[in-house]
Symmetry: D2
């Protein structure tokens, strides 16, 4: 059982060796508490430099839900609401954390996990008076929950709509590194900082023990933010653990290297499966592969692989999700391809 290849998700390992080593090397050091230490300052400076946004405020937190709820509840007044795709993590998999902070999440159908300007405009137009919440913040994810990517042009179009309707643009970057490290993406960190009011760069799903770097680009949203982190339970006593890890993460662009490795292996898996004749529910753009398999093949796959059954399509077929990481190997991919060859064709498939 333990020898099954794990393609279940990208947060099933303790951390990348270099990250843990950096903690090991700090064992004898005494640090200031609550992120007031030198390592954290250095990590913030390193990230700021990459972002090229001198006015940005950087905060390190533990976990994406914590970042989302702290930031969004800090940015909104009580009657203001979030516009999001129906696939948004905050809408589906954070146990109503945004509502628990008092705010409605207005969702729009989004087949590929992506929100478009038309949906945003529709929300704004529907909410016309004081009997309705007031849309104020657009939430999207890069990469999306479906592994897809916003292009620079798409993000610029959303920004234009936000500007026109006085909306904030917030980007959930739990898997942002995979986007930054993808050949399919033309969005860099400086561009994100230019276009978003706030975004975060996630570390948990790309080699850190834990840690997400929230970047608040818009100065009007920065005041007293540490109060809000503390109030929501997110101010780590040993904040230096985040600083140390992010220094390792950013050093020699480790975060990009890890993401690129995972992306390349996902691309290889995608290509191999395509060659074997498989269909896909979504285009593979980062480290997630959504491939359609015959239900009859599932038991054998489960025997050798760990993966998620994403959506049952019919009594015949299911979309399954493979997630690669920096720890995935070429050999793993080859094993999967061997295992799935031929898909279900005994000899006479249609």
């Amino acid at each position: 059982m333990t020898t099954r290849i794990n393609l279940m998700n990208d947060y099933n390992l303790v951390a990348h060796e270099r990250v843990l080593d950096s903690l090991q090397e700090s064992l004898a050091v005494r640090f200031e508490g609550y992120g007031a230490d030198a390592e954290t300052a250095r990590a913030k400076a390193a990230l700021s430099e990459r972002i090229q946004c001198p006015q940005a405020a950087v905060h390190f937190l533990v976990g994406g839900t914590q970042v989302n709820l702290t930031a969004i509840s800090a940015f909104l007044r009580p009657h203001e609401a979030v516009i999001a795709p129906h696939t948004a993590h905050i809408a589906t998999h954070e146990t109503g954390a945004i509502e628990a902070c008092g705010h409605k999440v207005l969702v729009h159908e989004s087949p590929h996990g992506k929100l478009g300007p038309n949906e945003v405009i529709a929300s704004v137009k529907q909410h016309t008076d004081e009997h309705m919440v007031k849309p104020r913040l657009v939430y999207l994810s890069q990469t999306t929950e479906y592994g897809t990517l916003y292009s620079q042009a798409e993000l610029r179009a959303l920004r234009a709509v936000c500007d026109e309707h006085d909306l904030l643009l917030y980007i959930d970057g739990a898997r942002l590194a995979y986007a930054l490290g993808s050949p399919h993406s033309d969005l860099t960190l400086p561009l994100l900082a230019e276009l978003a009011d706030a975004f975060y760069l996630g570390g948990t799903k790309n080699g850190l023990l834990f840690g997400e770097a929230l970047v608040i680009c818009n100065p009007s949203l920065q005041a007293d933010f540490r109060h809000l982190i503390k109030q929501r339970g997110g101010l780590l006593a040993k904040g230096f653990l985040l600083g140390i890890q992010f220094n390792a993460f950013l050093k020699d662009d480790l975060y990009l290297e890890l993401a690129a490795t995972a992306n390349a292996l996902a691309a290889k898996l995608d290509g191999g499966l395509k060659a074997l004749g498989y269909d896909f529910a979504l285009q593979t753009e980062t480290n997630q592969v959504f491939v359609i398999v015959d239900n009859a093949a599932l038991p054998k796959l489960h025997e050798h692989l760990m993966f998620e059954e994403w959506q049952q399509l019919s009594s015949e077929q299911t979309t399954i999700r493979f997630v690669t990481t920096w720890k995935t190997t070429e050999s793993d991919i080859q094993t999967v391809l061997d295992l799935m060859r031929p898909p279900a064709a005994p000899l006479a498939s249609d």
Copy 2:
């Protein structure tokens, strides 16, 4: 302008004469505060008798949004959510009041403003683990926001689903009197008390200055409810104003008489318009008539009538809403019918 017939809504008059008279007659009386007075006790007893549910707790509040938010937030734990039709007042026209109390509202498409067992079951089945909110309360309105009615059979089916999945059933009764006073309804107050965990009987839209009677049928939901009313700002200092009004409302079944009058006039309007060849967006079951008119006819209608343009259907047609009340007259209805005859007859257009 002031002589236009007002069919805009059912809360545009101060109150029914008998209601205001009852206040006038109490001018010299000194009352206990906060609903601890004898008039309130008498009104609660009168309502309890009609409900035939001795274990029920009755509370009088000001306004439907206040009732909904106080009750729902009292009944739920932080991670618990509401299941509602997409037309639900709490989902669309209460400025996110339920979310402001911390709870997500899960909505389902409901063409006639009504929720069915399948939608409820779908919500329950979608929310399977701790990453998602936990559906706990089914919200529906009788009559619905579209003027339609749940039958006894429909409500029993919903109750059965609630029992099976440990859900509470809550009924928004802002216009409940119109349902109770409708020949199309087979749901009585005792049946509502039997089937719902809580419901309210609204007075604001049927002749009171203000006032809604919340009935909490389920004893496990009753504890400390006055604390919660006070905390949400709903405990009226002069609570006796609610008691006095509800006594007038219940005396000789005034509430039913007023509703029946309005319903009968709506039926007459509906019948007359049908005879004139009009189509309807929804069936007329209570005091709301949703009729489809040519956009070309709108200016003339607005000149003589006050009503709401409910939904633009096309560049040609719009659904408009007429709302009758106890104050609407036969003559009003006749005027409307005269005005709308013929609907779009080419020969006789003016």
Copy 3:
């Protein structure tokens, strides 16, 4: 029992005759909903004129707790807190309504129900970093819960401290009319509008059925306020009921006349009791008299009067509270004085 003179509180009558008459006279009128009607507009204009603060926004609501929670939660960000005297209504008798909206109330001992600049400064100095809430709004009441008054000099001193520390100044005016109608007060409506960021003028305790007029003087606090009223359940469907009542309230300065009557009778009661040798727990400045009586006298007093036992001072003595209203009569006062003469005279005890 019913013939006991009622000095329990100032909200035990339906309303002043002229207020109820104004509703009676409007029975045939059709109004716009939710406060968009002409009567409400007229009442706002009338109040604005008295306030002499053209940039102020006026909103009519039902009930002081509703006003307090709606305004304070609208004005504060999540980590911001209220500074208040320990006697503050929001701190003691609103069931944690402010906390239920997410905000801490920082209280200071205040023997006479009044907060001073030193207390405010102490709060600011104690809250120095992100581990603590950030004081942002000073709450006080005029008249206070103890019937006492802030002078113009005292309020100016508080305003200066607020300006220095970037604090908002909010005044709960549930009994503001009694202050405005008191010879002991040098604070007018225009001065309040000049010194406070927001305040309200209560009607419930001075002759209205219900109704408080919230005045938001500071333009930066005005945005989207109707959204917030609706979200907290305070937007009355028949908002015109508030407009009609406030027009009656302001006409010929009825509100001042009623308050002055009550104040004068309280002064008379105070003077009479002083002449009889009674001591007082607090100075009588408005319509509340806090007199110290022997416990032995309580049964007889309760037999003939309705009043509140405010605080038991010892096994010998208790402070009791008499509250006068516009409906209290000279004869009532004389009866009380007769009843309490002599306070503890051994010869004449019954």
Copy 4:
């Protein structure tokens, strides 16, 4: 500067070596997400065994504020409040996190950081009706924020009051290990589990990178708790990091060994300072020493030591706090004693 001895706090080191080694040894392992892994299960079992409370539910979280706000908001209905000493961490240093979840914290003066039965009873008696919050949960800390300890007898007395008044008893155990490892304490883990409805055993301040083990002893408080952790942002994706660390923490009672080391050194420091004639603001019972020094001595102390100035007592004297940890050495203590000898001897000052 970096060679100053650090007695500032007990969370300034990455972690104990054995804790970090346990992570290092797990680098190649793939784990289930969100705490569903075998290491976490093993850690829960190990803790449950020590607690001897089979019905208890154990959850691992990151950070004390997160634990406090998640647990307390899970246990209370909206109108229910917390009773706490005025020194309580939730009352002073968590930025109003409990209020942000909607609940009032009622505080009592507590000179030694400890709450007694009389304070609890006073709170209950003061809150008599629906205009006031309802006290429902008693919060205390073991060890307290002042380093002091509740005895078994004291805790039993509080439990009795809680039982009498239907109150929950919750114990913040950020520094519980120091209590358990103190010769001054007669409270064991099984006794805590018997007497408290819930408590937590903190790891962050005693050698872990991070991590607190919440123990919910009362089965009626356990339902859906993972939903609530997730909603508040506290469900760590890599939950196994907590399981691994707690296994190291509990193995061979490492947590007690570390605490006992720190306590012994604090006792030695306390004894040495007493011998030198110093006075103390509080009795030294665990790893915190609150000693009173002359203000004139502060510069020199700061030059060689890192510590907190706890409270300025006068223009002459200040209470300072020394905190020892498992990493503090005998030599450190000797250095401090040498430095502080003699306390204020005029002849021998340098």
